[in-house]
Structure formats: structure tokens, C-alpha cells
Subunit: 199 residues, 3 copies
């Protein structure tokens, strides 16, 4: 179940990485590298922090090949680059939900405390995008103008962890948490939720 969620999240984030790299006029290798780091960055950091081995993409070479396939598809069909930026909002929100909840689940399975599991979920969800932005030489989106980006992940991880704590089966808890993050993120963008800025 966590694995199915992971594959969907990889596709969603790889697409967001490809779109960003194309906007920066990168070539095939640059696009693949950015897609790779966006798709695998969060999960890699999570696995390193939890000392899970082998890494998920080292164990499953089909993940890295999948991202290569998406990259080649994007280059072969230039129409892909004309996709409006707002169409990427849904896969990105979905990827955020999928990765965050998977990260919290793996952390919990590794025996961490609840608060650390929720932080690990947020790291898994947002870190791929942070690397993408650092590599593209920008202050990471998630710190600048968050519209609750990390906050959605944090809330959704707690929804999953609390449902699980009260004995709800993961077949129910996982989709509910992923859906909450995705919908909350879309609502935050639509209605312009903001976190307090110090002043």
C-alpha cells in the first residue's frame, strides 16, 4: 500500500521537476537530473535519516528508469512544455500528500515517536522540491510563499498518525490522509491561506 502510493508520488513529482527544468532551458541531462532529485530527494533523505537500507530507488531500478522514460517523453512531445503552470498544481498537491503520508508511515514503522514521524513526513513531502529550487538557484518555494505547503503535509501526517493510533486500518487511514493533504493544499491556493509572518 505504501509502495503504490510511492510510485504515484514519484510520477507526480518527476513531472513537476521536468516542467521546472524545461522552464530553465536545461538539456536532456539537466532535465533528468532535476526530475530525479525532485522525485527521489525526499524519500532518499528520509531513508538516510531513518537508516533504512537499501534505499528505495537502489532496490527498485524500475523507479529510476520510469523517470528516464518520463523525461524522454517530455522531450519527444514538445506540447508537454506548453502545459500551463496551473495544471501542475494538482499533481504537485497529490505528490505532496502521497509522499508525506508514506514518509510518516515509514518513520512510524521504524519506531520513531509521533512528533518525529510527523516531521519525517513533512521532510519526505517537501524536500524534493527544496532540492529542485536550490539547484535552480532560488530560495525554496516552500519557505517563501508557502500557502500552507508544509503545513498541509504536517496536518495530514497527524491525521494519519492519529487515525492509526485509534486503530483505524491503514486501508482507510492512508487514503483519508492523502486526500486531506491534497484538498487542503488546493483550498489553500484557491482561498489564499497564509501563515503568520513575524513583524
Amino acid at each position: 500500500m505504501l509502495q503504490t502510493i510511492e510510485v504515484l508520488g514519484i510520477i507526480a513529482f518527476a513531472l513537476s521537476g521536468i516542467a521546472e527544468a524545461q522552464r530553465k532551458q536545461m538539456d536532456l541531462v539537466g532535465i533528468y537530473a532535476v526530475a530525479f532529485m525532485t522525485a527521489f530527494g525526499g524519500g532518499t533523505l528520509r531513508d538516510l535519516l531513518l537508516d533504512r537500507t537499501p534505499l528505495f530507488w537502489v532496490e527498485h531500478q524500475e523507479y529510476a528508469i520510469l523517470v528516464l522514460g518520463l523525461t524522454l517523453l517530455a522531450l519527444l512531445f514538445p506540447a508537454f512544455t506548453r502545459i500551463p503552470a496551473r495544471w501542475l498544481v494538482l499533481p504537485d498537491a497529490l505528490g505532496l500528500g502521497l509522499f508525506s503520508v508514506a514518509g510518516a508511515g515509514y518513520a512510524q514503522a521504524a519506531g520513531t515517536s509521533l512528533f518525529v514521524a510527523s516531521i519525517m513526513g513533512v521532510i519526505t513531502g517537501v524536500f524534493g522540491g527544496v532540492i529542485r529550487d536550490v539547484v535552480c538557484n532560488e530560495i525554496p518555494y516552500v519557505f517563501r510563499n508557502t500557502h500552507w505547503y508544509a503545513t498541509c503535509a504536517f496536518i495530514g501526517c497527524w491525521i494519519y498518525l492519529l487515525l492509526d493510533l485509534f486503530g483505524v486500518t491503514s486501508v482507510v487511514a492512508l487514503p483519508v490522509a492523502v486526500g486531506s493533504i491534497t484538498l487542503l493544499r488546493l483550498a489553500a491556493l484557491r482561498y489564499n491561506f497564509r501563515m503568520p509572518v513575524s513583524g
Copy 2:
């Protein structure tokens, strides 16, 4: 003993991260993220490099909650943001001393050679600030205008390692080394010590 030092270092560095993030007009989530990375970045890299598991902040959830508390305090009391930058010099110098010596001590306990232990101490002391600056899209302070920043850490780690080598108890060696780094750093700023630049 190493642990008490660690907690004090976390507080010192979290405060420096919060102040930097507030200067960049980040919101609650951004401030917490920067404080978190500044406070835990050096120790996390050290633990990854030494393969120590579980990570210190994964094991102690109270560390991450402590940084969250400091972040909320900073947002609730806006007076905090009006603290002049030079007041941050002392906690930062103290954090540098505390983290560097703790890092060298952990490396030594993991059985590394003396030179590698001293490098590991420097990495532990300065890496949190490097991440903070990279994330804020600047060339890390420690590389630009060091005023002996990393050098103080390097010298203090050797003081600790040599005292330990000659059989001095850590109850004496640790505070002496931490104090040396802090005072040397303050002196370097006051009297404008510089390292040679090639030219």
C-alpha cells in the same frame, strides 16, 4: 556531558536561524524550517558520516519540540525581531564551540583518527550555518568572511583532542575547549583576525 552541551548548542543555533529567517521575511513554517536545519544540520551530517543511529533528534523528540517552542515564542513576542544583530554573536560563538567539541568527541568515540575527528568537529560546528545560508540563497558566511570562524572550531577541537590524549578528564577538557573556541571567536571578531587570501 556531551548531551548537555548539545542542548545548549541547539538553543544557540536555533536562535541564530530564527533571526536570519525573520530578516528574510519568512513565515512561521519557513522560520521553523530554517531554525530546524541550523540547529540540527551539523549534528545530522556528523551522524550520517559516522553512521551513528538513530539520529540524535530522531531519538529525542523533545529537541524538535524545543525548536518549535522557540519559533512560536519568537513570533508571539515581536520584540525578539528587534534584537540587534550583534547580540547574536555570543550565542553563535557559544553554539560553534559547543557543537564543534561535541562533534569531535562523538567522532573520537566512534574510533576515527585524530585528524578526521577534528574535521568532523568543524563540520558539526559550521554545517548548520552553511545550510542556513545556502537555503537563504547566499554564499555561506563561513566561506566569505570567516574571521577565523572554522579556524576557531579547528583549534578548539585540537585542544580537546590533545587534552584527552594526555589523559585529562573530559569534565575539564570539554569546558576548556568550548571556552577556547568561544573566546577565540569573540577575539577574532573584536580584533579583526583574518586568514590569508591568495592573490
Copy 3:
């Protein structure tokens, strides 16, 4: 054999890091830090991803001392800084070849699949330069204007992996693969090979 290759690669990359840091007017500590990260960044990430412990430079303190020696030499002999940039092309191409093939070899020895071993080789070869550029606050060279930089590493790793698969001894396969990457890279620069850019 992999180890001899590694030492040569460390020297080649440390020199490229020193030259870059001197161009940015860094001081002794900054130069050492950039040289250190350029020389050890790729191998460190590889060892973390493959969970190899202890890290190669933690085990061999002479590597870190070697880079310190090169840094001091560069500062003592200012003529070093007047080396024209194009003279750095050969050590860099050689370092790329040496590190990439060593990385693929270590990955294979750790039991990864062929595709993951080739990716791990590319990461080992290019990541030091990526860190160098991120720390110097630039979009990594390898993503901007690659002239087949990562592509040469990718092709050379496959040459090594396929030769090895067909039973060729590593005394032959390693030098052939390293030479292929170095020559291909020099040819790519000379004849201006480019990867396709989407558009």
C-alpha cells in the same frame, strides 16, 4: 585498483575546487572547504546511498591531509592562481572518468542492479562539482551547459559494466572505461557536442 583510481581522482578534483575558490577570492579556510567538498562530495554521497561504512575519507585520514597539503601549496605559490582555466580541463576530465568508474564499481560490488550502478557512477563523478557550484551560489555547471559532462560519465560507466559482464578482467576494463570518459569529454568540448534542449 579502485583505490589508486580514487586517489588520482581526489587530486584532480581538489585542484579544480581550489582554482574555483581562488577565483571567488576565498581565504584559506574557504579554499580548503571547497576543495574538500569537491574532492570528497561525490564519494561521500555514494557511500551514504550505498550504506558503505566507514566512509572512505573517515577511514583514510591521509586523503583529507593530502587535500590540506594541496591547498597550502596553492596559497604558497601564487603562480598557481595564474594557471589558465583551460589547463584545468584535463584534470577535471580525468577526475570525472576516475570517480565515475570507481563509483560504478563500488555500487556493483554492493550488489545493485546495472542501471542503478551506472547512475551511482554518474552521481559519484558529478556530485562534487554540483556541491562546489551550489556553495559558490551558481546553477551547477553540469545542468547548464553540459557538453555531455554527465553523459560521458554515463556512457563510460556502461562500458565498464558491460566489459565486466562479459568477463573482461578489471585490470583491462577499468582503464578502458576511465580513458573512454576522459577522451569523450575532451572531444565533446573540442567539437562542441550538445544534448537536445526541449523547445
